[in-house]
Symmetry: D2
Subunit: 340 residues, 4 copies
């Protein structure tokens, strides 16, 4: 009993907005292994809300109290993007393990600095790429790894809905960040070039819809369509393999993944001219665990701290995402393809 | 009675493949106003098939018989794309009105030559952009024209399925040609720039999937996604207006168009910083006539001949489509944006 | 060549309405093995229509010409239901094989008489229960026969849409006839009791919506919901097995059958009280041939004539359907359960 | 400020199972107007769970503490059905207002006794028919009340899914109770007859699927299909009016109600025989507030206590539901239609 109490990871959550509240709920639910000591926000109303639901939590507007508290093992950062870097840096410098909201930082340089700092300090730096912890994405990863769909030809994703237009980042940093993290996780290859096309109709400042093309040395390509200006909410990804194809529809409550036993190939044994051969077999919909991804992820963060293990979505994976996000913005600005 | 018989337009259909057979069926069904005299194809089997269903039709492998027959008022050309130009040219030179399958020609120069020739000869030159004759597209045209959706911000179309990979043209010439013709019809503005991205995985020759971005001086933008390598068949277009938004799903048997009374705007009267305002009202699904588009179109062709009127999808509209198709192919080849 | 010509089955189609036209098209398309000699209807306009599309066919308003023509091997009857019996009887008496539209007759007595007459004359009597010839229903039959879904617990079908209200029969005779024929085909057991509930809102004469419950000695039960007054068109059947369950959605263009590896069972080894155990595995969607059912069926009719074989949907199966239809109507009239 | 504190309604929740936990969450969230003092359950584990999330709440296994606490204004009862009557009765006798889970009681006599007791004591007796508080059902009520759909001809509901098989009540008491409460709310008429058909395949004790027919003097009819043995989850209700028809699909996240401007009527001015006339116009999908129904309902309960007003789902409406539930069970047992 005493033993177990000693092992409880003491954490602080910085940022109590929409996502911060989810993190508070989930980390509080892990109270057998986590002691959620602080929640910090500059908005007193948000702190009152937290206090009224979780009276045992200390609320504060001052991050210094957290960073100076030697009991705290880890800081979870869920503020606006512009503060991620400075808060994560301060947390690491104070010896805290860090889970930071996506995107990890605003720039590649910042991301590199955090990664180096975490390595130097031997601390966990993890990015909240929640989708990597969903049953659906893990199932797709397995299907690809096991060779079931053959060579992966393309990844084509659509993540569109009405709003919420962010005040500080564009739709790529807000929505495409998910697809890019999923893509990087599924495909063991870095893109060689990025072309992005974006447009702002409402704010006339930050892109509200965008299309991104990614090219890879192997011939694999990816396309990502994101929008805050769609009347309908769609979260749909097609993954085309040489043997099978996958439709991943995250809107579906229970049938998120459909595996189509379909492909097209050339019959190189027939006479010239060769014609494509189409094969259409059954469709299967694998059963997927419906554990909440955020809970799975929070557990993973705590386990990585306890076991000193590298998380799935570590700082390096966060950095690889930032590199692509940055290239997208450069491509839009310079109206050309950016080679990586 | 005699009167009516005199007015019957005598036509020949050249090409009896998949689409040619549809044309034969539809023009034969108009036998009150049309006399389908000839069907021509190089493949004797296809001609036998036509003969067995339509014993009254003369089948031939020789286009000269058609072009030399002074009774023939019009030729309908439904061959492979590579033959469109030469056959349409010969038909016009022989004094025949022409309905030619989409895309009108392989190159812009050819399209321009046909348009000029038809003008010179005072003959109807019409392109079979069937979608312009569907109830759904005509309804969307009305919604835009009446100002019901406000300023049109974007057009985003997805036309994907498994196959059929064409031997002579890429997926842009085969599928995006539909979206481009619809786009040109709906939007009274010519694009200023085209960027296209395409890839061939199976044949290693012609693009089997592609993404196209179109830019316009007014700020309107369009994106078209076409693929022969999708496990699912999708035909979905989003049209975002400043007042309302449209989802056009051509797969739906009866509810093809949904009009969302949704928009986002900036409140310029509030203090700085301004926040977007989201409005979400009702959705309406207008009833659409389900007259077969091809029948509607065939009637239109015959009426244009009889009344010496310019068809909706005339040679010039066909030419404007070819210009964009050609720019797409150049963009893919030169890996850069093409200014028009 | 002569041989083949000799073997061609000479047929006449009586009734050139909506379904009759389909039959004409399909039997004409089988002209390698069928000679469609006559089409008969009382409506001269319908005959003109047939003649204009199929000039080689003899059209007539007089069935006697057909029955007296010794060349004719088979009569296909697609008139209104009230004429099925007398025409089929006359055809059989004239030595013609018969394919009759569903429902076979108006009464059980009539059905029994036709079955007896066909047996006596050694002629084929087949009922046009088209759904038995679809890939979907044949696939479900296989799944049941192979034991893949275990014991079949229930069959629950919904076949509803707006109209067409029939002038001569109620919605049970028009629509539930399909479900009953499918049910009889899938389940090798006769119902022991039928309760039906129906209502007429528009015509105040014939039921426009109905619900039918069927009970069986084995414990299996079936329910059929049919309606002409639904704003949406649904064709959905659930089949619950002790091992797996099937959703058959006939509206789906390609994914008509979903097999759910789901079941509920009692764990009789645990202590009292026993709790149900739920198992949810993958879902599979088998590929189904999309041969047109009517073509498949027409071929089957001709083959049965040539080989003197009993058709799948023979007179006896038609009779079994009529028995249930009649019990439904009695149940509605007498407002009670009818034991069979 | 003091004023407001004085007015806070002090409540106890009895039963901390699946639904009880929801009630605790919702009533706790209303802490500006509610003081959730006690949560009671016989299962200590459930109480520990409540205590760990809501440390301020007193947990107890003894209902006497609650009924004897004169501070308590209201008891919310969410136990198994068998305890509803005795707990509600004791609560009313102790002078507490009562919100009781659906179905209100096991028998009509019990329901009548509670209604009489609440009247006598001048206390609020409310039944948790949650669906009456959803935006969708309130919208449908308005559409009917405003005459927009004309005379209501039929109500046809399907509420099916896999499990959860209840240990104490059958699928009618568990699921059809929702449809019956909605039906009673929408239609100002009492049924004259009930026929139900149910079957138990798994437990061999309580019905796991059922079909219910309800008849009304006006000619209106209703059908309800409920099942715990369906592989798919469906919540779909069709409501057919003489002017328009409604499809209410509660599974849809945002487009729950579709209003079809469709109807069928007889043209009594045409010659004999009259033919039905079909009208198909637009479809509209009204925007519906997505306030959580349970929160809306909890607020309503508190307001009714404060203002001494009769709740929408008062004891009498609960009683009317029980009458129909009881008739369903009798109909199944006696295998006949039950006149009410």
């Amino acid at each position: 009993m005493i033993c177990m109490d000693v092992k409880k990871i003491k954490i602080a959550i910085i940022g109590a907005g929409y996502w911060g509240k989810n993190l508070v709920r989930v980390f509080y639910s892990l109270r057998d292994i986590v002691d959620l000591k602080y929640v910090c926000d500059l908005d007193e109303k948000k702190l009152q809300y937290i206090k009224s639901w979780y009276p045992s939590v200390i609320t504060t507007t001052d991050t210094k109290i957290i960073f100076n508290d030697s009991e705290i093992n880890a800081a979870v950062i869920a503020t606006q993007v512009g503060l991620h870097f400075s808060l994560a840096k301060e947390a690491l410098l104070s010896g805290k393990n860090v889970l930071v909201e996506k995107p990890m930082t605003e720039t590649r340089e910042q991301a590199e600095e955090l990664v180096a700092l975490a390595d130097e300090k031997n601390l966990i730096l993890m990015v909240d790429h929640t989708f990597l912890y969903t049953g659906a994405v893990r199932e797709i990863k397995n299907l690809i790894k096991n060779g079931e769909i053959g060579d992966v030809n393309y990844f084509d994703s659509e993540r569109i809905n009405l709003g919420l237009i962010q005040p500080d980042v564009n739709v790529i940093y807000d929505l495409a960040v998910h697809d890019i993290s999923i893509l990087n996780y599924l495909i063991n290859e870095k893109p060689t070039a990025v072309s992005a096309f974006g447009k702002s109709y409402i704010t006339k400042k930050t892109e509200e819809l965008a299309h991104i093309n990614l090219e890879y040395a192997s011939g694999f390509t990816a396309h990502i369509h994101v929008s805050w200006l769609s009347p309908v909410k769609l979260r749909k990804t097609l993954i085309g393999g040489s043997k099978k194809m996958i439709l991943y529809n995250d809107i579906e409550p229970s049938e998120k993944i459909k595996i189509y036993d379909k492909n097209v190939s050339m019959d190189y044994e027939t006479e010239t001219p060769q014609s494509p051969i189409y094969r259409s077999g059954d469709i299967s919909i694998p059963r997927i665990d419906n554990i909440e991804a955020l809970e799975f992820e929070a557990n993973h963060f705590i386990n990585c701290i306890n076991r000193k293990e590298r998380p799935l979505s570590d700082g390096k994976s966060g950095l690889r995402v930032i590199e692509i996000l940055e290239a997208c913005n450069r491509s839009i600005k310079e109206e050309r393809k950016i080679n990586l």
